[in-house]
């Protein structure tokens, strides 16, 4: 029955499909809505916790700060020394949540399904870094930040989690997934669109 109920992405009210960005634009943006997002917390020194997580995810969650790992279509992002964000394909979060819950039974840990709490704005293209730098003080220079790196910070005064998904050199690179709270998403999108006016080739904000 749930299928018949309309699902709205955070940016749906902006009608973005009506104004796609040209393929060769210096910077492109798109919403990547509805992918599953679970926040996991626990003590990595607790072997019960680590074994339970490893058993389900098939990997050790990244322990090096600002790192991420991708296995079987899932990305695990380091958010803090005892906190990870597990991103999975849309719709897979319910089963994954249940599986992790079961595995973590009796273990000191926390698991929250925050699939709808955030959306992802994907920013790519040669000017992607310049665009982000307009409202964000993170240093994204390739010397210090690269594909697979994660950082939380603020962009246009909205809290974000930034994951670099592609390094330089590939077509349409670099690329970043910008996780942003659902309530901030429209503000952030419009702010970015306005900031991107400097790089002609992009769409004109409505």
């Amino acid at each position: 029955m749930a299928e018949t109920i309309p699902s709205q992405s955070a940016l749906a009210p902006l009608g973005l499909e009506a104004r796609p960005w040209p393929e060769d634009a210096p910077v492109r943006m798109e919403e990547h809505a509805h992918s599953g997002k679970l926040v996991l917390r626990g003590d990595h020194r607790d072997s019960d916790f680590m074994n339970a997580v490893r058993g389900v995810l098939g990997m050790t969650p990244p322990l090096v700060p600002l790192g991420s790992m991708m296995v079987k279509g899932r990305v695990v992002l380091w958010l803090g020394p005892d906190e990870w964000l597990i991103a999975c394909p849309a719709g897979a979060e319910t089963a994954l949540y249940a599986e992790l819950r079961t595995a973590l039974n009796g273990v000191h840990a926390a698991l929250v399904d925050l699939t709808d709490a955030q959306t992802i704005i994907r920013i790519s293209g040669p000017r992607a870094r310049d665009l982000i730098a307009k409202g964000c003080t993170l240093d994204l220079h390739p010397h210090t930040f690269g594909a697979g790196h994660v950082a939380r910070g603020t962009l246009a005064h909205a809290q974000i989690t930034l994951l670099q998904t592609a390094g330089d050199g590939e077509a349409g690179s670099p690329a970043f997934d910008l996780y942003v709270g659902r309530s901030f998403a429209q503000h952030l999108w419009r702010w970015l669109e306005d900031a991107a006016r400097e790089y002609p080739g992009g769409t004109d904000p409505a």
């Binding site: 709205q8 925050l114 699939t115």
Partner: protein, 1003 residues
């Protein structure tokens, strides 16, 4: 269009093929690409460019750079018009339109110059003295004085230009692209460091751009060619960012640096639409290199402010860089060798140099020797002791001077310009802004960079190193050291050979003596604010010994030029008047910005909808399309009320409130904070942060909690549900969600690290649709078949999970309106669908969306508090009459101990009560003060204030909540509320106005 009659035919860094038309003070002129407005004006023989601030004396172009005190212009007209720009920094573009500021009706005829005749009445401290007594007079004078002193006009319309901001990181930031800065950039860039090189000019090269083409050489190349080579090499380095037309204006803590880039200012109407006019850079630099050069120091002599008198370096810049004659007969006046370069260059260009007047008794350097060879007369041991000329200088009186006094008769030298130099002041502004300490060097009378705590190095002229070879050497060294400190070691560069003239020592002279009676011939120290040597001495006599006081009293350095040419001279003359050494008097603290920065650049794009982030709920679009009037709650937009056609706020709120009491109201409560709490110690955490007990709360049930700060004051409140034995969902007030989560994290991380509990914000995961009213159960029954809604099966303060309107939901039976209420929480993506389903199914019950205004009214009828409205951080649970929620059994919770402090137990505290106005139609103002004994006028003792006030349609009268001293002891008393222009009698009552037993919400 007038001919550029002062323009030279060949040479200089202008493009004579690109003619640019412009207007100044209503007249049409022509200049060339590469000109500044100032150089184009000089080329056109325009001498008079402005009037001084106080005496409205005629003033001419004085410098060729950002230090300019006189040539302030209003650029453009209409909305984009900008005041107080320095003509010396405005790049000429086709169609430019500018006017002098500070003169009316025209620069040639200025009625306020009458001030000049009565200047003895406008001494130092004039403004202070006028406005200290009697205070009321300021009101009368202000308008006239502001008009008289007006420094340009701000546009009345919104600025149509776009401004942007960006953040950047680098290993080495270099301020200044002269020889030292370029060498530093090459050294750091070749080492592989990330470099930002910023220079305020349109091209790099610094003073080298103003020297003659056949002057100095670097590495066997003409200096300007070496600059071009260096620039090209830097432009080819991937990690080097070159920012011309960019001023480093601020040096803040931890090498945080502010830059302002003038992106399209020089393009005028040809500026591309997609580019911002200006861009502010916020740079974090691992290392900073200051290569900011030096500013020429004027000589202070009698009648030194006539148009045509300018800095010697500026005269050279106009000649060599812009190809214009600063005059036809230019007298050079100096205490150092550098000004001889000006004399030589002028002479070589065929301009008459009647003499070089040198304060030194016996100038013997190579430059004076070359001047002699060129046949230029040198008047050694002489000074300019006076000048003549009304709208421009026509002659100078020159006399022998020695030991600070005129030592012989004066002779008159006719001239139409005087190029003068008192030496060079290192530009230590940024170094000082960054908390660097300055040290004073007697020999040259200069402040130099001393110790600093920041990671910076100074090189070149700003470090007191004036010879070109030393500038290059210092630049190379600090560039390499900065790169190495940032992790990029590299072999030190070989230094290019230089060919330049050697200079003999200067002689420091702070004030040139005059043969005119004191008081007759004024010597100006600060041109923009008309401060004379006499004013400085007067301030000293009146007891101003601190530089900071002196500066404000005399207004020295208080103009838009911030005293670039006047501060050091002012301090030196003050020191001499006080009989103290200059370092003992000190220099003023330099503060950002180095030069003025427009407000637009500081605002960037954070205007209008981007002024602050706007948070929207999943149902926001529906509210918009149904005409909601929004209010800001924190960053959220919440519907305040939904007016129908012709309805004002009061009518709408009345209709919405009645619907919730009689049928169904529906509220978007998605903004309430939700914190997910998990772990074996979750209940114990709640025990510690709430005043009541949580261990025994059953799974499936909810409880209201009050959270206190350690000072015992109410901090937040909300309902928390137990989802599982070790799993709770806490709700917080909309504005406090982040703060409460931070509070829980703080205590568990810092004070109770062993507690097994984790928190996460879940606010945005859920859309919350709250339905409220006697028919709420009927509506919900139509939308779910999953759980029994009967009062026994689903009691008040419990929750159920199941399908509502086709999607998984958590339904909480809690109430803020006092009515039967259900809060339906669904995944955010389904929020709009569920809201719409409720609206459709509820139509037959007259379902009515209500906003925060009706919600506040409904809860006030029930006496439910709003934290932050009925509390203000000074209110305890007892003050609110909420002792019932404070556990007596728990050994401890946050804030508990404070509840037994003497101050929280004392009588006389303000406590919550209800108020009824005598006239039921009168609605009190929120914030209105309450007094027991009203008088005609203050003072009278205020004993409290109104915190919430509404007209209640249910009670058909006004109601109010108030915090009043010993309020509960005053039940039935009549007090008085102050309202604009009147006092309103009120009766103290219980703060619960409706359904005190809560039968409706429990039913």
């Amino acid at each position: 269009m007038k001919r550029q009659r002062q323009r030279l035919d060949v040479g200089a860094r202008i493009d004579r093929g690109q003619r640019l038309a412009f207007r100044f003070n209503g007249k049409s002129y022509e200049g060339f690409s590469g000109d500044t407005l100032a150089s184009a004006l000089v080329a056109n023989g325009v001498r008079l460019v402005g009037r001084s601030f106080k005496f409205h004396r005629p003033r001419g172009i004085y410098s060729a750079g950002m230090e300019e005190p006189n040539a302030l212009v209003q650029l453009g007209t209409g909305a984009a018009s900008e005041p107080n720009l320095r003509a010396t920094q405005v790049e000429l573009f086709d169609g430019l339109e500018a006017a002098s500021v500070n003169c009316w009706p025209s620069v040639n005829f200025d009625i306020w110059s009458l001030n000049d005749r009565v200047s003895s009445m406008l001494p130092a401290g004039f403004y202070y003295k006028t406005f200290m007594w009697p205070t009321g007079l300021w009101m009368r004078y202000e308008r006239a004085i502001r008009a008289m002193a007006g420094m340009g006009r701000t546009a009345r319309e919104a600025d149509p230009d776009r401004y942007d901001q960006t953040n950047a990181h680098c290993d080495v930031l270099i301020a200044g692209g002269g020889p030292a800065g370029l060498m530093a950039a090459l050294a750091a860039g070749r080492a592989g460091a990330r470099v930002i090189l910023a220079d305020e000019q349109n091209e790099f090269g610094g003073r080298l751009l103003s020297e003659p083409e056949d002057g100095e050489t670097i590495g066997g190349r003409l200096a300007v060619d070496w600059v071009a080579d260096a620039r090209a090499e830097l432009a080819g380095m991937a990690e080097v960012r070159l920012l011309p037309r960019t001023t480093v204006f601020g040096y803040y803590d931890h090498n945080f640096i502010g830059l302002i880039e003038r992106v399209t200012d020089h393009l005028g109407g040809a500026a591309p639409e997609h580019l911002p006019r200006q861009r502010m850079w916020r740079v974090r630099a691992r290392q900073v290199v200051l290569a900011t050069g030096a500013i020429e120091r004027p000589l202070i002599f009698a009648e030194n402010d006539r148009p045509g008198i300018m800095l010697a370096g500026a005269a050279r810049a106009y000649l060599n860089r812009y190809g214009v004659q600063p005059g036809e007969k230019v007298l050079v006046f100096t205490n150092n060798d550098d000004a001889y370069r000006t004399a030589l260059d002028l002479n070589a260009a065929g301009i008459v140099v009647p003499a070089v007047v040198d304060l030194r008794a016996d100038p013997q350097g190579s430059l004076p020797a070359r001047a002699r060879e060129a046949g230029i007369e040198i008047l050694a041991g002489h000074g300019v002791v006076g000048t003549k000329g009304r709208l421009r200088v026509t002659e100078a009186r020159v006399a022998p001077v020695s030991d600070g006094a005129v030592a012989g008769p004066a002779r008159t030298i006719s001239c139409d310009a005087i190029a003068m130099s008192g030496g060079w002041n290192p530009a230590v502004h940024l170094f000082s802004q960054g908390q660097g300490k300055l040290r004073f060097e007697e020999a040259r009378g200069v402040f130099l960079p001393g110790n600093t705590i920041q990671a910076n190095r100074s090189a070149g002229a700003c470090n007191g190193a004036f010879p070109l070879a030393v500038c290059l050497a210092e630049g190379t060294e600090v560039g390499a050291l900065a790169a190495a400190d940032a992790g990029f070691g590299a072999p030190v560069l070989a230094l290019p050979e230089t060919k330049e003239a050697e200079e003999a020592p200067m002689e420091v002279v702070w004030q040139v003596p005059s043969d005119r009676p004191p008081g007759k011939a004024r010597a100006f120290v600060d041109f923009q604010n008309d401060v004379t040597t006499k004013d400085v001495k007067l301030a000293a006599r009146e007891g101003y010994r601190s530089v900071e006081h002196f500066k404000r009293y005399t207004t020295t350095g208080m103009g838009t030029d911030q005293g670039k040419t006047s501060n050091i001279n002012g301090v030196a003359i003050l020191a001499s008047a006080l009989g103290e050494a200059i370092p003992a008097v000190g220099t003023t603290t330099f503060r950002p910005p180095y030069t003025p920065v427009s407000f637009g650049a500081f605002a960037g794009r954070e205007l209008h909808e981007f002024y602050a982030p706007i948070r929207r709920t999943p149902i926001h679009a529906w509210h918009e399309s149904h005409g909601a009037v929004f209010e800001d709650v924190g960053q959220w937009k919440r519907p305040r009320y939904y007016p129908r056609a012709g309805e004002g706020m009061h009518a709408a709120v009345r209709r919405e409130a009645i619907a919730a009491r009689s049928g169904i109201g529906i509220l978007d409560a998605s903004t309430l904070g939700k914190i997910d709490i998990q772990g074996a110690d979750a209940a114990e955490l709640l025990n510690r942060v709430y005043t009541n007990a949580w261990s025994k709360l059953e799974v499936g049930r909810c409880r209201y909690g009050l959270m206190l700060g350690e000072d015992g004051m109410v901090m937040d409140d909300g309902v928390t549900a137990r989802l599982a034995e070790d799993h709770f969902l806490m709700s917080t007030t909309t504005g406090n969600a982040a703060r409460v989560l931070a509070w829980l994290e703080e205590w568990t991380q810092t004070e109770w690290p062993d507690m097994k509990v984790h928190m996460a914000s879940a606010t945005e995961q859920w859309a919350t649709v709250s339905i409220s009213g006697p028919k709420a159960r009927n509506l919900l029954a139509e939308l779910t078949g999953d759980f029994d809604l009967s009062p026994d099966a689903f009691p008040f303060m419990s929750f159920r999970e199941g399908i509502v309107a086709g999607v998984s939901a958590r339904v909480f039976r809690i109430s803020f309106t006092g009515e039967l209420s259900f809060e339906v929480n669904v995944a955010a993506r389904h929020g709009l669908a569920v809201w719409t389903a409720c609206m459709t199914a509820g139509e037959k019950y007259g379902i009515t969306p209500f906003g925060t205004e009706a919600m506040h009214l409904l809860r006030a009828e029930k006496g439910f508090i709003i934290v932050g409205q009925d509390t203000d951080g000074t209110v305890t649970p007892a003050d609110l009459g909420m002792d019932w929620i404070v556990s007596k059994k728990k050994p401890d919770f946050l804030g508990k101990r404070s509840l037994s402090r003497a101050d929280t137990l004392r009588s006389g505290r303000k406590r919550l009560v209800g108020l009824f106005t005598e006239d039921p139609k009168t609605v009190l103002d929120e914030g209105a003060q309450i007094v027991a004994e009203p008088r005609d006028r203050p003072p009278m003792k205020m004993i409290g204030h109104v915190t919430s006030s509404y007209f209640s349609p249910t009670l058909d009268r006004s109601i109010a909540l108030a915090l009043i001293e010993d309020g509960p002891d005053r039940m039935g008393q009549t007090l008085h509320a102050s309202m604009p222009g009147r006092t309103v009698p009120v009766r103290v009552t219980e703060p619960v106005f409706f359904d005190p037993d809560g039968e409706r919400m429990r039913g």
